[in-house]
Amino acid sequence: MGSNQGLLFLIVGKNEPLYEAEIHKRPNTPGSADTSVARQSYFVVHSSLDLVDNATWTSQNMYLRVIDKVNQQYVSAFLTAGNIKFLLLHPGKGEIEIKNFFHEVHEFYVKLSMNPFYKYDTPITSKEFDKRVRAVARRNLF
């Protein structure tokens, strides 16, 4: 896996993923939806879900830091008060940057959940949310 590899960001609700974003350094890099690398990324992130549950009660913070490491990839997690999980797969970024990223995304998520048209624990389809998440990821993580 090259060093210019993108990031994978997921929001997972109680039963299903609510939002997925592959984020690359350059905005127009084609997604790698079909490659085995992408499939492996998703696998790694989803298999770390159990570790989120384990880590939940070990910390008072919403930000749970790195909870899983596979090869050169790390999974960082953030848990909202409503038990919605934010997961980020990355090739070893700084703790502070990731923390800032999660906190900003959390703010967007709170705004989104105040939208009367958004029901709790349903897939996120808002384009505005998607745009904001990608922008903040690019600002903080590259």
Binding site: L112, N115, P116
Partner: protein, 188 residues
């Protein structure tokens, strides 16, 4: 009443009004809209009508409150009424500043640069073009002016939720009703 004194009056009335938290207000209206949306089963026309009717019911009541508290002189023209509506009444009830644009003696537009109902709201694609989220204003204006013997048509022309930069509500005067009891009333 001149434009500036109408605005000053609105400011003073707003200061006296009991306040509700702006977010709570927006979320409450959001919950109301969602209730209507749920009941209408995806029929957007029905949603808009329902919301407009809710506004109408509010309008015919709150005009009394406005007249009781505002102490405005009797308006001599529709133009003057539009001014009091936009500058004083909207300020008093919503705390929002409104510009009034006169199109003609019988038609004007209210331009809202801030809209207390639409904080947090983002319309999903299926409703983006059709649902008039803030149509309740139209109902309120229609109801309130009807109590003042003005029959008006009220439409949302622009909405920030649809990508416009301001909210615009257009009011057209249809007719001025006669005072007195309606046709249904017959003295015994």
């Amino acid at each position: 009443m001149s434009k500036s004194s109408a605005a000053a009056n609105g400011q003073a009335l707003w200061a006296k009004q009991p306040k509700a938290n702006a977010e709570l207000f927006a979320l409450t209206y959001g919950a109301l809209v969602m209730e209507v949306v749920g009941d209408a089963d995806g029929n957007v026309k029905e949603i808009n009508e329902q919301l407009e009717n809710i506004g109408y019911s509010i309008g015919i009541r709150c005009v009394d409150e406005f007249l009781a508290k505002s102490d405005v002189a009797v308006c001599k023209s529709f133009e003057e009424t539009s001014n009091v509506l936009g500058k004083t009444a909207f300020k008093m009830f919503l705390g929002a500043n409104c510009d009034v644009h006169q199109h003609s003696a019988k038609s004007f537009s209210l331009i809202m640069h801030e809209n207390p109902l639409t904080v947090f709201v983002e319309l999903p694609d299926e409703y983006k073009e059709t649902l008039q989220y803030t149509i309740v204003y139209c109902g309120v204006i229609r109801g309130a002016l009807e109590m003042l013997n003005y029959k008006v048509d009220c439409t949302l022309v622009k909405s920030t939720l649809k990508g416009d930069d301001v909210d615009e509500i257009k009011v057209d005067l249809k007719s001025v009703m006669q005072d007195g009891a309606g046709d249904d009333y017959h003295e015994e």
